[in-house]
């Protein structure tokens, strides 16, 4: 690819405009998606190392029961990270997801709600969490407030509502079918994992194959440009928070089924795990760039670390330290990868 040959093609005589005045752009011909691919490859490499560590330090890492446990543990944060990825790519952040889980799980398990049976409970969880997301989104998009502040307010007040409704007491699930959500298996794989997979699939299609997804990237990358291109920026901003709320609904259902209780303490600090996974997955906190696959891998990496620590009987504080170290190392590596590709 010499400079000369490109000039020749540019100044071909048949050009209608004064094409021979075209400036030549001098750029590396790396594929556009290179950065994203590198990020995902990096995460896969980390995962591979963890698998090696896991299988050498423990005897039962590769046992099917352990792998299934690992996947179902990853499911709840995984579902949250799907919604969070949309929010972060659009340039926002959602700190209220843990609190929304608590409120949805409490509201879905009150005595009154349980009267309506399984479907009534599911419906309640979806409506409550979706409404919380809508409130967040409307305040941010139409009220012009910063998402960090709105969702910190949500973090406090949604959990407060949950405590108020439940009286601070865990509410036992008495509806028969509900617990089955956590225990049912198809082909040896827990239903929770299918729910996680389905959420990821729908999220991926929405983000990568629809106009809406494209607009999310545009709003996060340059909101003013999106507005001037005729995109309804406020509607996009609202929708991503509603999506995050709906993911909270799914997560709340999963958590309530696993614990067989609805509690105002559910989902505590889950927002940080979800955000950590999204960042580890290479999504820019400033918005405009990211992948859903990266976020999912981020969740799997964190869960695998936890799993290995538990199998080796290492304490929770050490797990937490390891998590912090992983985040810092991953972000440092990403910055290096970005810098070499940006030159």
């Amino acid at each position: 690819m010499t400079e000369q040959s490109r000039t020749d093609t540019v100044s071909a005589p048949e050009s209608r405009l004064t094409a021979d005045a075209a400036p030549r752009t001098r750029i590396a011909r790396a594929r556009f998606s290179g950065v994203n691919q590198r990020q995902i490859l990096g995460l896969l490499a980390v995962l591979a190392i963890l698998v090696v560590v896991g299988s050498t330090t423990t005897d039962n890492f590769f046992e099917v029961s352990n792998l299934m446990l690992l996947l179902s543990q990853a499911s709840i944060i995984g579902v949250l990270s799907v919604g969070m990825t949309f929010v972060v790519i659009s340039g926002g952040i959602d700190l209220s997801v843990g609190a929304i889980i608590a409120l949805a799980s409490v509201w879905a398990t009150t005595g009154a709600t349980q009267e309506f049976g399984l479907w009534g409970m599911l419906f309640t969880a979806v409506v409550v969490a979706g409404a919380c997301g809508l409130i967040n989104g409307v305040l941010i998009a139409y009220g012009g407030l910063v998402s960090l502040i709105v969702t910190i307010a949500g973090l406090a007040s949604y959990r407060g509502m949950a405590t108020l409704i439940s009286g601070g007491q865990p509410q036992v699930v008495r509806v028969d079918g509900f617990g089955a959500i956590a225990t049912t298996e198809f082909l040896g794989i827990p239903l929770l994992v299918y729910m996680f997979a389905a959420t990821v699939l729908v999220g991926w299609l929405l983000l990568n194959r629809t106009t809406f997804g494209r607009h999310v990237f545009a709003v996060g990358g340059n909101a003013e440009a999106a507005r001037l291109a005729g995109i309804d920026v406020r509607r996009i901003r609202t929708t991503v928070f509603v999506l995050s709320g709906l993911c909270c609904a799914i997560a709340a259902i999963m958590l309530t089924a696993r614990t067989a209780t609805g509690a105002s303490t559910h989902g505590n600090l889950y927002e940080l795990d979800a955000i950590a996974a999204v960042i580890l997955g290479g999504t820019l906190l400033s918005g405009g760039r990211g992948t859903l696959i990266g976020s999912v891998l981020g969740v799997v990496v964190f869960t695998t670390v936890n799993n290995i620590f538990v199998l080796n009987n290492l304490s929770t504080p050490i797990q937490q330290i390891a998590k912090g170290v992983i985040i810092v190392i991953a972000v440092l590596l990403q910055r290096r990868a970005n810098r070499t590709s940006a030159a």
Binding site: A21, R214, F217, L228, A343
Partner: protein, 503 residues
Amino acid sequence: MSTTLLRMRGIVKTFPGVRALDGVDLEVRTGEVHCLLGQNGAGKSTLIKVLSGAQRPDEGTLVWEGETVSPRAPAAAMRLGIATIYQELDLVDGLSVAENIFLGHEPATAGFSRRAEMLRSARRLLERLGHGEIDPAVEVGELPSATKQLVSMARALSLDARLIVMDEPSAVLAHDEIAGLFRVIEELTRQEIAIVYISHRLEEIREIGDRITVLKDGRTVAENLPAARTSTEQVVSLMTGRDMESAFPERISGSAPEQRGELLRVTELCRTGEFEDISFTVGRGEIVGMAGLVGSGRSEILQTVYGARKPRSGHVELAGQRLRPGSVRAAVRAGMGLAPEERKSQALVPYESIAHNVSLAALGRYTRLGWVNRPAERAAAEEVTGSLRLQPPDTAQPVRVLSGGNQQKAVVARWLLADCGVLLLDEPTRGVDVGAKAEIYALVRELADSGVGVVLVSSEIPEVLGLSDRVLVLREGRIVRESPAEEIDEAEVLDLFIEGSAA
């Protein structure tokens, strides 16, 4: 005035896949204004980075006051006495003028800054620039661009700079502010400080410059030409490797605008404090130019017509259909497009590919039930960028790799794809080099010939006069003159700008 201050020889700098500098020579004497010319991508920015210590050259020598040096970091270059004033002024908005001037080298005793002394020294430095009226205690964020530039220069002086590199300093300035800039530059050169001046505007170089060095494709193609005696034709042919053609395409003669049919009608548009009583029409295939100084309301009018700002009164009709005021979506749906002044911040989504940027406004066309037909989208984007001869032709590249002229093409391509009937162009050639300018002019004319109505806003009067069919002259938010472009000249437009505003 004749000792050599800086001599760069055979500077080479490569990035992965690119040889940005391929043997650059540059010689700057004390107290001269040395103009650095070159098209976008010729290597000017990289050369500045090498000079300012931000990038290290792979090969070549840098001789500063007779000694070979190799500044490894911006701080090292500053210690030598080389300061750079970037296009995006690197000031901290939340700090005061004085704090910005002394940022990083505050006068201090045991860590406590001596504020009074700082303010005094800042005032002295601003006086040296002939601008003692600037209050050093004021927050920089509240200042206009021209004043910020002065703060950057004062900062350079505070570092005892002997050489100040100015990267397109006039790009952020209005017509009358440029005269002020030139006075400051003269003041600096009188104090034996050398200036490396970069600009796309050849007239400025003729006015302020002493000598010219021309870069092309990372090489110095001409060194130390006398700025006053080198013809524009010669400079342009050195920059482009070609002879200068007529910059503006010919207007189609024949059908008068009235016969072409009206496309856009703006009636008594008003926005308090910005503009008043703006009425004009644009015919099919017509280019209407708006000439006005910064602050005359030209960009604001364009944005209001587009719906990005809400008018207090008045309305906009497109093809007979009245648009909802203050709604960009209504305007876009009716077939209007805007290529805004600030392409990077207002038009392009930096991380997205060229194809995604181009299809942004027309995505609905390649969508069924929310589902994007990606092959169709890609094919359409490639077709339209191909017809505009956008470089590079690979639309999977991220949009940020594009040069200024190609960014503009990408924005125009977006509206072509959306089938827009009226295109609003705000400063379409700002930051675009000479060669690409002619190409954009040809493109705009070609669009008009195909029936698109164009509204053109530009601070360059020759551009407005040369490209438009009809010209509206604005002063302080009002149209003071409407005329066919052939019947008005630059002197007359300037007269209209100044008339009344002096009173």
